[in-house]
Symmetry: C2
Subunit: 265 residues, 2 copies
Amino acid sequence: MERVQHTPSEPQAIRQRIRRGEIAGHTSGLAPGCVQGNVVILPQALAADFLRFCQLNPKPCPLLAVSAPGDPALPTLGADIDMRSDVPRYRVFRNGEMVEEPTDIAHLWREDLVSFILGCSYSFEWALLEDGLPLHHMSAGRNVPMYRTSIRTEPAGPFHGPLVVSMRSFRPADAIRAVQITSRFPGVHGAPVHIGLPELIGIRALAQPDWGDSVEVPADELPVFWACGVTPQAVIAEARPEFCITHAPGSMLITDLKNSQLSIL
Amino acid sequence: MERVQHTPSEPQAIRQRIRRGEIAGHTSGLAPGCVQGNVVILPQALAADFLRFCQLNPKPCPLLAVSAPGDPALPTLGADIDMRSDVPRYRVFRNGEMVEEPTDIAHLWREDLVSFILGCSYSFEWALLEDGLPLHHMSAGRNVPMYRTSIRTEPAGPFHGPLVVSMRSFRPADAIRAVQITSRFPGVHGAPVHIGLPELIGIRALAQPDWGDSVEVPADELPVFWACGVTPQAVIAEARPEFCITHAPGSMLITDLKNSQLSIL
């Protein structure tokens, strides 16, 4: 699949380093301005249900691309992408148990595997930062806090479970601006699903997130909640498919798409 | 100015009835779907400052049209509009004191008068209702509650004062939707200026509005605040111009524009 590129673009050059095993960790901050994607790889037998789950739940599962069965290419996200090698670190699950965290999955590849790439909050955080809005978890060097909610996803086949949300707090006028900005990016979770009043969606204590780190909400700010890409991961963990590969947390697929290209307005 | 219209449109027909004195009260509910405007008529000597005030403060003062001095026509809002007769009821102020509430101002017309028509919340409320969002003050048959805030407007000449806001409460997901919907209508106040936490903008008690009626905010809802057309009225009252005419509260200019035409998206 590999072609000689005399002047690879930045995302291509980074994927080449990932492919050679030179980058095996987090992708945060790599290829600035480029879309990074959450990765789910499932056997074809489960792919139709998972595709339907994404279609029913576009806010937590914004689908950027789906591969043909057995084809490791995703040409709409990058001409050279090879899903067997281009994610820095993978997680391999068998019957719901994580069995391996390899940097390459060529040895596991099967002719029935379908790759799903889902939009990720990095893209809308880029848009918020471009507009000058502060992100407290970032300035504190922490992961964004994430919470299991009482909002149910729409089930499809074996896939069902609660909506997981990420929280960022803003002063009220900035919260309104954040709604406007992220509304332009439906492909990467889009507008928030909730604002203020966390107890209404089953969140008892903001200081005790279910994933990520705790980040304080100042008294003059409102917590704003976005549907989160951890939702499909939690749903898949619950469904315990016989075989499944995902990216390792924070170790995403870097694509050629620009975040700005995802803006619908 | 009057032309024979064999089949006047609904807003034209209503303006003709207003012109004949058959309608002299509120315009709420008349010519559904058509834009209604707040009216300010000032001598030319003050018009440039007021125009600049509107330009500096587009959220409380969204300018739909300005007339040429002495010209009672506003052709961009309706071919037949005559500002001397087409508002059901006017208020006439001299040196800041209201002296008259006539249904016609032909006897007061001067060659130096400039008419300003400002967008009004009826238009964005129409858009919210079209999208199925509930408006509590409407279902309760009350006026929307309005509050003087600690947010200052940008001054221009004699015009200065606090921003006045109107409040409507929504469940959190509907509040997010309300931000999206009203963002499409910058010509009629646009997106909210504040959400939640009223004390941050100098509002001590939601139950005690400065204008309009008190409307309860349910425990599972957030108060959402929009810049309000009462702002320029309060600012003009404060500036005490030697002569000024406005519409009487609720008795607006009905235009030929459709609310949907004001959507920028």
